[in-house]
């Protein structure tokens, strides 16, 4: 008994202490340095990728594969003379005392969030090189710029050095005209790497994450050559004539978007002269579309009509006071006159300048420049594509940081107002701007098919995993429909079986765990006399259509001065001295490269001849204002059915 009481006290005390030790669990605001950013499933995550990433039959994105990067570096550095950062720096003359070399440190607050230490140089031969150390202090959760990143760049904190890039503007291996080349080096070993993770959202193949914004193109690789390796594509409108010239550019340094330190030696005022020097060098890399008396343009080569026209030069000049660059410091230019004259100053200042211009000003050619958005008249016809990329897909703006900033800014509402004015439903019934990430049903484009089984596909739908198809009406609008049936109607790829010719309207609703899409209709015109049968279309049929007369070949021919990026004639593509079936395989790869299997309706192979943003305008047989099956859109139907059948060779 004497012992029982103390033991009771002991147990009571122990219980109280155990209770006292409970608690904790973390608060939502806790941040763990070093933690990678959080990628939310079901939310847009197609950043720093090309809108057409070259989806392969196995589902892989060819422009995001190691093979793509290997082919790129094999093209621009075939003898691996720049496969380490030391070799690359030596090849570009860093720290040799020759040429001119400057270093700046700033925060890339707008695009990638890095603190950047950039050493730029102009060699005596006019070639340029930019060595960039990118610093990011990982704080998990959100992806954003932090002044801490800038601090890290100033002190060169090795733990925060996440990415080392090299960009040079120099001739290709065979000499000739200089073009931009993009390198990525391991931060520890200095070895050149094929993949780079520059936004914490996973590795992406070089040079993709660079050139996706810097004006570059994402054409497919060639089939394997005699060595067994695919080659990087050759763009026929590249003045350099070099494989690996992806038409990428050097973007202007938009100093007003940078953040600077107050640390002596790193203030904006102290670094403005170097930044102006760098912008003048960048300007020198731009082709000159017309003779200029301005001294800063003397270093620019004449532009070919088939290439980019140095559009971004206007920004650099405006930022430094115009021709002659009289101003010592960069000032964000006022709204261009064309935008102001169109009464779209607000749209430009809240949307285009902060969110579009950085990439779009580096795009376009002398023949087809509307994608540069330099005027409202160029911007407005892109409304549907803007709706698709910004409101539906969420792959524009192209970088996550800019995407987040845009959607948190007044620009989101301004763009929505513009789109609504264009007749596009960018707001919901309550007036809120629609956000990417909601289910979007995409049953594919309207088309003509034969009787019998036709495989439908909802795989271009977005943010959805559940599908519900239905036949809304049959021939002549019969409701309930007759003459056709659906099997596997609740799958992504049901089968439509028609026994009667006529026009059928189907509906697709796509859903995920939390939401349903608006129904999207699909019109199928059943013509049993359709020739060739959709599933029998092969590349030979497409090639024949492309080479039918001069409608396509007239411009898409390397011998014409138009300098289209692709040639639709048959020629010795692989350079083996003759036109062989192998060249046809290369031709096939080039044509397939113009199919966007991630968004079939947006494929250049369909859009361009349909007259959308195409220098050649509307091609015969591609009039999409006509119903499927009409003769005036027979080629469109042919191409579309080939694509929907997987574009077989």
């Amino acid at each position: 008994m004497a012992l029982a009481r103390p033991i009771g006290w002991i147990f009571a005390a122990a219980a109280a202490l155990v209770l006292a030790a409970c608690g904790g669990g973390g608060s939502p605001g806790d941040v763990h340095p070093g933690t990678e950013i959080t990628i939310v499933p079901g939310q847009p995550n197609e950043f720093l990728l090309f809108p057409n990433p070259q989806v392969q039959p196995d589902g892989s994105l060819q422009t995001n594969t190691d093979a793509y990067a290997q082919a790129y570096y094999a093209a621009i550095d075939p003898h691996n003379t720049k496969d380490t950062v030391a070799k690359w720096r030596a090849a570009n003359g860093f720290d040799t005392g020759t040429g001119t070399q400057v270093t700046v440190v700033f925060g890339d607050a707008r695009d990638l969030g890095f603190g950047r230490r950039m050493t730029a140089r102009q060699n005596p031969d006019g070639t340029l090189a930019f060595y960039v150390e990118n610093y990011l202090v990982k704080t998990g959760g959100a992806y954003a710029f932090s002044p801490v990143n800038l601090e890290a760049a100033i002190v060169r904190d090795p733990n925060a050095l996440v990415y080392v890039a090299g960009i040079e503007f120099s001739p290709g291996p065979a000499g000739g005209v200089s073009f931009a080349k993009y390198f990525n080096f391991d931060v520890v070993t200095g070895v050149r790497e094929n993949m780079a993770d520059i936004d914490g959202r996973g590795d992406k193949a070089m040079p993709g994450p660079c050139i996706a914004c810097h004006g570059g193109r994402a054409d497919a690789l060639t089939p394997p050559d005699a060595s067994g390796n695919p080659r990087f594509n050759l763009l026929l409108n590249a003045v350099s004539g070099a494989r690996g010239d992806v038409l990428g550019q050097l973007p202007p340094f938009e100093v007003s978007t940078f953040q600077f330190s107050e640390t002596p030696g790193f203030t904006r005022a102290e670094q403005e002269p170097m930044l102006k020097t760098m912008n003048m060098w960048v300007l020198c890399s731009y082709p000159l579309p017309a003779p200029s008396p301005s001294p800063e343009d003397a270093c620019r080569r004449p532009a070919s009509s088939g290439e980019w026209q140095g559009t971004a030069a206007a920004l650099i000049k405006a930022a430094y006071g115009g021709d002659g660059l009289p101003d010592p410091t960069y000032v964000e230019p006022s709204t261009p006159a064309s935008w102001a004259a169109a009464g779209q100053t607000s749209l430009y200042e809240t949307v285009v300048a902060p969110a579009c211009r950085v990439c779009h000003q580096l795009r376009g050619t002398g023949r087809q420049s509307d994608i540069d958005f330099t005027t409202y008249e160029k911007f407005q016809p892109y409304a549907e594509r803007i709706f698709a990329t910004v409101i539906d897909r969420g792959n524009m703006p192209l970088a996550q940081l800019l995407y987040d900033t845009f959607h948190a800014s007044a620009g989101e509402a301004a763009l929505a107002d513009f789109l609504v004015d264009q007749g596009l439903p960018a707001r919901d019934a309550g007036g809120a701007v629609l956000q990417p990430g909601r289910p979007i049903a995409d049953p594919g484009p309207d088309r003509v098919v034969r009787q019998g089984a036709t495989r439908l596909s909802a795989t271009n739908s977005l943010f959805a995993d559940t599908y519900a198809w239905s036949i809304v009406s049959g021939p002549n609008g019969t409701v309930p429909p007759s003459g056709a049936s659906l099997t596997d109607a609740n799958t992504a790829q049901p089968t439509f079986n028609a026994t009667t010719d006529g026009t059928y309207v189907l509906s697709l609703v796509a859903s995920n765990a939390s939401a349903r899409s608006a129904p999207q209709s699909l019109t199928l015109v059943v013509q049993n006399a359709l020739t060739p049968a959709p599933d029998a279309i092969r590349f030979a049929d497409i090639k024949a259509a492309l080479q039918d007369g001069t409608e396509c070949q007239g411009c898409h021919n390397r011998v014409t001065p138009l300098k289209a990026p692709i040639d639709f004639t048959s020629y010795d593509r692989n350079g083996d001295g003759g036109v062989t079936p192998t060249d046809d395989a290369w031709f096939y790869a080039e044509v397939r490269s113009r199919i966007n299997f991630a968004e079939i309706a947006a494929s250049p192979l369909l859009q361009k001849p349909s007259g959308q943003h195409h220098f050649g305008g509307l091609g015969p047989g591609f009039d999409t204002s006509l119903a499927p099956g009409q003769p005036g859109r027979a080629k469109y139907d042919l191409f579309l059915n080939w694509i929907l059948n997987g574009a077989p060779q």
Binding site: L19, G24, G26, V137, P158
Partner: protein, 334 residues
């Protein structure tokens, strides 16, 4: 100075609570030791007067109660010149506070040489400038004590476990803390008492920033001035987590294991961050008896903490922080 007092004062974050529980705990320990001696030697021993924290420097416990052996209340004021435990000059904020503490003990005899002492503690602190630091804590201390004999130079050994529940005006700090350890105390001379303690301390809070773990080693020296009071001096070394407040600078983020926007300094947009550090804590104090059951305690405590992390870049200034706490506490034993 008692171990319980020091640990209870430091284990929460190395800063709070500001008020030392030095004297009340000191008395409590004196009472407990006295009781222990009473267990060891049924008659009152002269050793009582030479024990560390003995009656010479503290009021006598109240007569035996049905449930409690002693109850103490103390009221104090403190000034802290670095409540943020800030490293850089522009990250240091000062504050002053009032505190009211109460404790009650019960000794339970286990055998001729051992007993269990359970002490309940309740503490409230009110800060003047940064109310988020104000807090109310309550807890229990259980100590199993052993003494071989009632001889003057006999050492008292103890193992203890302590737990508190903490409620702060700053919600992020709410939680609990817990300590376990061992200690020993004894008298070197009739005026000098020496004690030491080893402890493992753990704290949980709403924010992981205050999820702290550390080890501590403490040495305390009391020097009795007879009826004039007691001077005491102690030094403690801690190895483990500390929390500081400051700007979101590269240095702070690099040191941090975890950080959070601190709701105790809402106007500053400062971040509290946890880092690992070596901490030296030294205290010098004087306890002045004001009667049989009342005394006044004055102390200066200096905390110096140096991060263990090595930064791979040049840092302007020192990485360590220094905090000085000055307190005056009126102690009353019932």
């Amino acid at each position: 100075m008692s171990f319980c007092a020091i640990v209870s004062r430091l284990s929460q974050s190395h800063r709070q609570p500001l008020f030392p529980r030095t004297r009340p705990a000191r008395w409590a320990v004196a009472a407990l030791v006295a009781a222990l001696l009473d267990l060891a030697t049924p008659t009152a021993s002269t050793a009582q007067s030479v024990l560390p924290n003995g009656p010479a420097s503290a009021p006598q416990p109240a007569p035996t109660r049905p449930l409690l052996d002693s109850v103490q209340i103390d009221l104090g004021y403190a000034y802290d010149d670095n409540v943020t435990l800030g490293r850089a000059h522009d990250e240091i904020l000062w504050d002053q506070s009032l505190a009211l503490d109460a404790s009650a003990s019960r000794a339970l005899r286990i055998g001729d040489h051992a007993r269990l002492v359970v002490t309940g503690l309740l503490s409230g602190e009110k800060f003047s400038r940064y109310d988020g630091l104000s807090n109310l804590s309550g807890g229990l201390n259980a100590e199993l004590q052993y003494r071989q004999s009632g001889a003057f130079d006999a050492i008292t050994f103890a193992a203890f476990a302590r737990g508190w529940l903490d409620n702060y005006a700053s919600h992020l700090r709410d939680g609990s803390h817990f300590s376990i350890g061992v200690n020993a105390r004894g008298a070197l001379t009739d005026r000098i008492g020496l004690s030491g303690e080893l402890a493992w301390n753990r704290r949980h809070a709403q924010s992981e920033v205050w999820d702290l773990t550390d080890y501590s080693a403490l040495l305390n020296l009391d020097y009795s001035l007879g009826r004039s009071g007691t001077l005491y001096l102690n030094g403690e070394y801690r190895r483990g987590d500390v929390v500081s407040d400051g700007h979101a600078t590269l240095v702070n983020v690099s040191l941090a294991k975890v950080f959070v926007l601190d709701d105790a300094f809402p106007d500053e947009q400062w971040f509290a961050y946890r880092s690992e550090a070596r901490t030296w804590i030294s205290t010098v104090g004087y306890n002045l008896p004001l009667g049989e059951r009342t005394s006044l305690d004055i102390s200066w405590r200096r905390v110096q903490s140096t991060p263990t992390a090595h930064l791979d870049f040049d840092v302007q200034g020192s990485l360590r922080y220094v905090d000085n706490q000055y307190s005056i506490v009126l102690l009353k034993l019932f």
